[in-house]
């Protein structure tokens, strides 16, 4: 919002004029400061701390004046949140990405060439339908959508089965379910794909055994659509499981109990009460898996074979033998369009129904048990899937400790760990001599700084989106979510181009890595927050406001405690994602700040799987330890319901 529109909005209020003037002055100063910097470019020096302080001060002052003029219902807190976050998003997402997507319109000499752009966007390489009967292959866009749809549906279904088994299938294997939910989240890229190759490749353990025992011929079925689908199901099902399991836990038992009291059968309760209440979570889970599958880089790189997908095609258009940023930009535009379409469809499907189940009223019930047939199926299927997942991890664990698991050379060695994580006693103190230590420590540092920032920015956005009414709310929601849709490679290159020169000269530092992670992972925080807030009755906030608490006090005393699960989930997600992201940071990592995944991708490229696997094992163990600590520190959240035990003993 510019100063002049703010002034126009505020004119009807008495005494608004000076505020409008101040807002206009702030906006002008902000634009002048940033615009002047960008125009000067390399001619001027980069911004220092004082510049950033000034930018922040001006932004907050602008927000305050705008609120005083009557925007955001006059609420300074909301105004500050919206204006600051929108400003950051414009600067760190839209400016760099917009700049690099414009490359789709340019030819190699940098001239605008619209016909070339149209040709790039409409080429049969992207949209060809040859695989549906034409005898040739399909375009990358079609391939990507087919894969993402299968994976989206598959993970949602698997996640639902697992969530039902975990939440309503009895307490017997709860530790297993929790492990299952956590493992793939802490898994670096490539690892699942490598494990699948070791198991099911042409010379894989399973393939060889089947061949020797039953004479089943060796094939290459793992390379291609089937293999990538399997790898992505293994990788993303836990996300679906986390979302659906959270939603199931939050479904108010009193609703189910009411249905039972009205003599509905177990099946009918599930179909008419539980299932409809799960719809937002199902949509979220499908959407996340769909988008993650589109953006996934590590699995297709190892397993896709000749099945081309957008994410890898974009990467190799930038870094491959073609060197065509224009083509990459065109492909990225297509990918972006698909993701936005997915968000739009999700909004349509969810409609405007209410899904509030946690309200201020007492809610003391016990969840309805599942119909017996469904319960048996869910538990059985969940067990089979868990065993399969654990087998993949066993391969990884073993792979780090033997000479070459890919070649079947199972001589136990520790050299992989010694090379990467060697420790020596030098000059009377322990010294890190392994080649992986530097990147390991940097990765932890970056992830640890980025995670809380992501959670704060994401959840504040979710709060104003769901709880506040203001002009441009939908636009703001769109702004916060769109970063997730942008392919990592595009972000990486865009960040170099945009932030390599003054005024914002950030490349080569820690800040650019942190910014990259915060704004890339923030949409997950926003979504988690929106989903959680959608189930918490607004009357709780209203009660707080009625008792004359300020917006800030309501936020910290009422909303935040109820959001604890969403906060923990966001923290965990952004921490682990920052530790395992690959395609975005491959261009941003430097000698001083190298990252674990960049080190690993170098090993994978060189065919050095054992060291890559050994490093991955260390990362997995470290992240697991962090997760357990976080869980121990926060504990599990209880929503004021009676437990099974209390019910039995009659409390």
């Amino acid at each position: 919002m510019t100063g002049s529109t703010a002034a126009a909005l505020g004119l009807h209020r008495a005494g608004a004029a000076p505020h409008a003037a101040l807002a206009a002055a702030c906006a002008a100063a902000l634009l002048g400061l940033l615009g002047g910097g960008f125009v000067a470019g390399t001619a001027a020096s980069a911004f220092g701390p004082w510049h950033y302080a000034a930018l922040l001060g001006l932004t907050l002052l602008f927000a305050r004046s705008v609120a005083r003029c009557g925007a955001f219902v006059g609420d300074v807190t909301v105004s500050a949140i919206v204006v600051t976050i929108a400003g950051l998003l414009l600067l760190f997402v839209f400016y760099p990405v917009g700049r690099s997507l414009v490359a789709a319109l340019h030819d190699k000499e940098g001239n605008v060439a619209l016909s070339l752009a149209a040709e790039r966007l409409l080429s049969s390489d992207i949209w060809g339908l040859g695989c549906f009967g034409g005898g040739t292959t399909c375009g990358v866009a079609i391939n990507s959508v087919v894969l993402a749809t299968i994976v989206g549906l598959g993970t949602t279904l698997l996640g639902l089965v697992l969530a039902l088994a975990a939440q309503r299938g009895g307490q017997r294997f709860s530790a297993l379910y929790r492990l299952m939910a956590v493992l793939p989240i802490v898994t670096p890229p490539f690892v699942i794909a490598l494990a699948l190759v070791v198991l099911f490749g042409r010379t894989g353990v399973v393939t060889t055994t089947l061949n020797e025992w039953f004479d089943i011929p060796r094939t290459r079925w793992i390379y291609g659509l089937t293999g990538v689908t399997l790898a992505q199901l293994l990788t993303f099902t836990p996300i679906a499981f986390m979302i659906l399991s959270g939603a199931l836990a939050a479904v108010s038992p009193s609703l189910e109990e009411a249905a039972q009291t009205l003599r509905a059968s177990r099946a009918r309760v599930f179909r008419t009460v539980t299932w409809p209440l799960l719809r937002p979570a199902l949509a979220n889970s499908f959407l996340l898996a769909f988008v993650e599958s589109l953006a996934d880089f590590g699995n297709p790189v190892v397993l896709a074979g000749n099945y081309e997908v957008l994410s890898t095609k974009i990467f190799f258009a930038v870094a491959g033998a073609q060197h065509e940023p224009g083509r990459a930009a065109a492909l990225a535009t297509v990918l972006l369009a698909f993701t936005l379409l997915a968000f739009w469809l999700q909004q349509r499907w969810l409609g405007r129904a209410s899904y509030v189940t946690v309200s201020g009223k007492g809610d003391a019930g016990v969840p309805a048990p599942l119909p017996t047939g469904l319960r048996r199926f869910c538990v059985g299927f969940a067990m089979a899937w868990i065993v399969f997942t654990l087998a993949c991890y066993a391969v990884i664990l073993v792979g780090g400790f033997v000479k070459d698991v890919g070649r079947g050379d199972m001589t136990p060695v520790v050299t992989h760990f010694a090379e990467g994580f060697g420790l020596a006693w030098q000059d009377g103190r322990p010294t890190f001599t392994g080649s992986a230590w530097d990147s390991f420590f940097t990765t932890i540092e970056v992830a640890a700084i980025a995670a809380p920032l992501t959670a704060i920015v994401g959840l504040l956005s979710a709060y104003v989106i769901t709880r506040q009414q203001f002009v441009g709310r939908r636009a703001f929601e769109f702004l916060t979510l769109v970063a997730f849709a942008i392919p990592g490679t595009v972000i990486g290159v865009a960040y170099i181009v945009a932030f390599n020169v003054p005024p914002l000269e950030l490349t080569g530092g820690l800040a650019i890595l942190i910014l990259c992670f915060v704004f890339r992972n923030m949409p997950v925080g926003v979504r988690a927050g929106i989903a959680a807030l959608a189930q918490i009755d607004k009357s709780l906030d209203e009660a707080s406001s009625t008792l004359r608490a300020s917006t800030w006090r309501t936020l910290t005393k009422v909303v935040l405690p109820l959001l604890k699960p969403a906060i923990v989930a966001t923290l965990i997600f952004s921490f682990t994602h920052a530790m395992t992201a690959v395609s975005a940071v491959i261009f941003l990592a430097t000698a001083k700040y190298n990252l674990a995944t960049v080190y690993i991708i170098g090993r994978v490229e060189a065919g050095e799987y054992p060291l890559a696997i050994a490093y991955s094992t260390v990362l997995i163990v470290f992240m697991l330890a962090v997760l357990l600590l976080v869980q121990a520190a926060t504990g599990s959240v209880k929503l004021g319901r009676r437990s099974q035990a209390e019910l039995i003993t009659g409390h």
Binding site: A29, A54, G57, A321, Q322, E324
Partner: protein, 340 residues
């Protein structure tokens, strides 16, 4: 209100100029394996006392990065990796010309490539193209040993050949350009179309097929021969073939980045990296390319360039961006879309 106006003034005035820090080291972009980068850095630091900041990425990734950073370069020298991205950078003026006093000590092919690029890049090693096959698999299936390029198109090796996609890998583009120079363009594409039926996978990375042949995932893998040697010395049952018709080669290159902040140090590295001592480091870390300095010891396991029928590879023509774009598009349209 007054307080706020004051704050506004302070904030605006505080936006004063902030001085940038100066640097006195060498930023190295290294495009060979990590194992080779590290001892090079250690040896150079020991020899000169200059602190080296090294990052390892593939040559394609660094090309994209150097291009993106061109307005304000962050790297000083780019060492290693296949020659094409270096030539491309030279063509676009992203790198700086430099004539090293050691140029006279170099092999003929290295000097020719440097001349073709107006001394914006220089060869540091060479590796011949070829393929390797898994001897265990071959024996168990009682297949004849392949010896020539033409063998790879024979129906008996259906689904047994692996090669990288030339769109993503410089190795595979070298193969495409080699075949065109060896057979003439129409025949080369006929061969590629016939071989397409035998290709089980076009991988993303150039060296991956060597690994696939080593593990038996694929019977035959087309790569640079030194990549296959690396697999062989670590105990894999592979045999390396120099195709009977003759073959092309890559020149691993080195370039000084234009606008390097530490130009003097970059030149020091440049001269040092062309010395026999520096080039001898490769063999110790299982890299068996042929060094460009005539006096550098050639590792025993390295494929002997003198015993391989090498074509007279035209780096100027096939390294140019126009010719590459044309050939890749043709390959995309005529070969990759064919049904199996």
């Amino acid at each position: 209100m007054k307080r706020m106006a004051k704050l506004f003034l302070t904030a605006t005035l505080a936006a004063a100029a902030w001085p940038a820090a100066a640097q006195g080291e060498l930023v190295l972009y290294c495009s060979v394996q990590e194992e080779w980068c590290r001892p090079m850095v250690a040896a150079f630091e020991k020899a000169t006392g200059i602190k080296v900041l090294m990052t390892r990425k593939s040559s394609g990734e660094f090309y994209a990065q150097i291009k993106a950073e061109a307005a304000n370069p962050k790297g000083d020298i780019w060492w290693g990796g296949t020659g094409d991205p270096h030539l491309q950078a030279a063509e676009e003026g992203l790198t700086d010309p430099y004539v090293s006093p050691r140029l006279d000590e170099l092999q003929d092919w290295a000097v020719r490539q440097a001349r073709a690029a107006q001394f914006r890049t220089v060869g540091i090693y060479a590796g011949a193209l070829g393929y390797s096959f898994n001897t265990k698999e071959l024996a168990s299936r009682k297949l004849p040993e392949p010896k020539c390029w033409a063998d790879l198109a024979k129906p008996i090796y259906k689904d047994d050949v692996q090669v990288a996609n030339p769109n993503s890998s410089g190795t595979s583009y070298t193969m495409l350009a080699t075949l065109v120079q060896l057979m003439g363009e129409p025949k080369a594409f006929d061969f590629l179309k016939a071989m397409h039926k035998n290709v089980n996978q076009y991988t993303k990375s150039g060296a991956a097929p060597a690994r696939a042949a080593a593990t038996g995932e694929s019977l035959i893998g087309i790569t640079f021969q030194h990549d296959a040697v690396t697999q062989a010395v670590s105990g894999a049952p592979v045999k390396i073939v120099s195709p009977c018709e003759g073959t092309g080669y890559e020149i691993g290159s080195m370039s000084i980045i234009k606008g390097a902040k530490n130009l003097a140090n970059a030149r020091k590295w440049y001269d040092w990296a062309l010395s026999p001592e520096a080039q001898a480091i490769a063999a110790g870390v299982k890299s068996f390319q042929v060094p460009s300095n005539k006096k550098a010891p050639v590792p025993e396991q390295a494929p002997k360039l003198s015993q391989i029928k090498l074509i007279d590879y035209d780096f100027a023509k096939y390294g140019s961006s126009a010719e590459r774009t044309r050939l890749l598009k043709k390959w995309d349209d005529e070969v990759s879309k064919l049904p199996k």
